[in-house]
Amino acid sequence: MITIRGLNIDLRDFHLRDVNLDVAENEFFILMGPTGAGKTVLLEAIAGLIPLMSGKIFIGEREITGLPPEKRGISIVYQDYALFPHLTVLENITYGLHFHRTDKTHIKKRLDRLLEVLNLFDLKQRFPVNLSGGEKQRVALARALMVEPKVLLLDEPLSALDPNFREEVRNALKGLHQSSTTTFLMVTHDFVEVLSLAGRAAVMNKGRIEQTGHVKEIFEKPVSPFVADFVGMKNLFEASFHETYAVVSGLKIEIGRIVDPSSRYLAVRPEDIIISREKFSSSMRNSYSGIITQINNQGFYYEIAVIVKNVSFKGLITKGALIELGLEEGIPVYVSFKASAVHVF
């Protein structure tokens, strides 16, 4: 549905360099990346709200590069909702109808359905100033979907909400996506949203797209140190590769398969690392003895840093396990992980 080729943008503080993207029809696609990566810029460029230096954008077969925003059929929902303060909820939602011609019965049906799905019936006559964050975001969604856009762009729609509202709106989003043919393209920081909503995603950094693909692939098989670090692969090391094993700072790590010798990095997800007091007898090919250097409380779990020779591994452990194993900083432990958990790139 969305095809972008060679997009370049030069705004005062923001730049996009040579962006290429393909999003299929009715996909729920997510854009990730650190602040300043250019995610919002890309969204606004697709919507036609900022000028491009070069590149082409297609919606379906139609090229929309030169079209003004009102002719693109693309709706946008912002992080701060951007509801029209001088109009009621109902007027906000039906705003777009002034500019689209559809018959009245169709409109009534669509309106009623949206109000019901998003639970907005009671709020029809209220003004935005009297709504909670969650209510405002639902109104913004209804407003955007009322005009039946081909593409819906969402710029971090949940990040301004209280955590208790987030799940509610997230579920609403999922429901709306599945019950329509609109293509959703969303920007977010939050991995929970990524994992629960998206099929495919892209990671951006400094105005470029670093990796595109299915969410699982990105999280397990990052193609660059940046992406690996971004998706939380805490055990990221430079390594030299020899047939079926790798060497990291003198430490030999079994990979169990032949890899491209020109690869430079390996990474292991922290949840794939098992920490034990005794040597773990199992099929895990990699098992090392080391000392705990740090125990960090991460809220719902603990992050344990263990130094093996010169290499520091980070693993995760629950509070219960921490107490049961009697782990403390400075004591010797064993660090184990499967060869197949080693990701090479």
Binding site: R12, E44, A47, G48, L49, P68, P69, E70, R72, I74, S75, I76, Y78, D80, A82, F84, P85, H86, Y95, G96, H98, F99, H100, F127, V129, R143, A144, V147
Partner: protein
Amino acid sequence: MKREPFFWITVSCGIVIMAFILLPLIQMMSAPSAGMLKETIQDKDVVRSIWLSIYTAGLAALISFVLGTPLAYLLARSAFKGKRLVESIIDLPIAIPHPVVGIAILSVAGKNHWIGQILSELGIRIMGSVTGIVTVLTFVGIPFYLNAAKAGFEGISPRLEKVSRSLGASMSSTFFRITFPLAWRSMLIGIIMCCARAISEFGAVVIVAYHPMIAPVMIYERFEAYGLKYSQPVAVWLVSISLLLFLILRILTLENRKET
């Protein structure tokens, strides 16, 4: 509750400023006798000149509103090379001495200038005419409108306009449905400021048009010819009527505040 010195300093400064403004005004307003005031307002020439002042100032404010709104909007929304220069130029009329403004406008309006020749051929007269007065008043008043309107537009998040466009509205529809309803109060304040500035203008107008006589020129003429006793009443009437008009305007906008 013991208040710290900072509080008292603030209050004192406030009192000093209020006194600074009010004392000369009260002196002026209370100087003429009721009889003098009655006699003055019955003078046809006085009524005519006060009406001319209000009417030309209102016209100048209206022109500023119509011509200035697009520029104010552009300055609020876009960044371009030389924007600061444009903004400085807009403020220039405030800094130029008033007689200089009058002389400059007269020079352009005379037959020795190509614009003056075009005007002459079109039958438009600037010297000694209402057209000339309105021209001068617009010149000195427009910066006040522009700055107020621009600030109003800047206070509206551009995202509202972006959403409106994405929903299918053109630039002009967005302006009339979203921007204007949210900014009209700032624009009204700009109009009031422009009007107030225009009503009080003297130095520039007196050079371009002595007759027809606006109220400030009449006040000065009476002062020079007959003294304080005959000029103060005209001033009192002008200030009172202007004050009344501005008050009404402000009350009308305050009423509407209740709905948001």
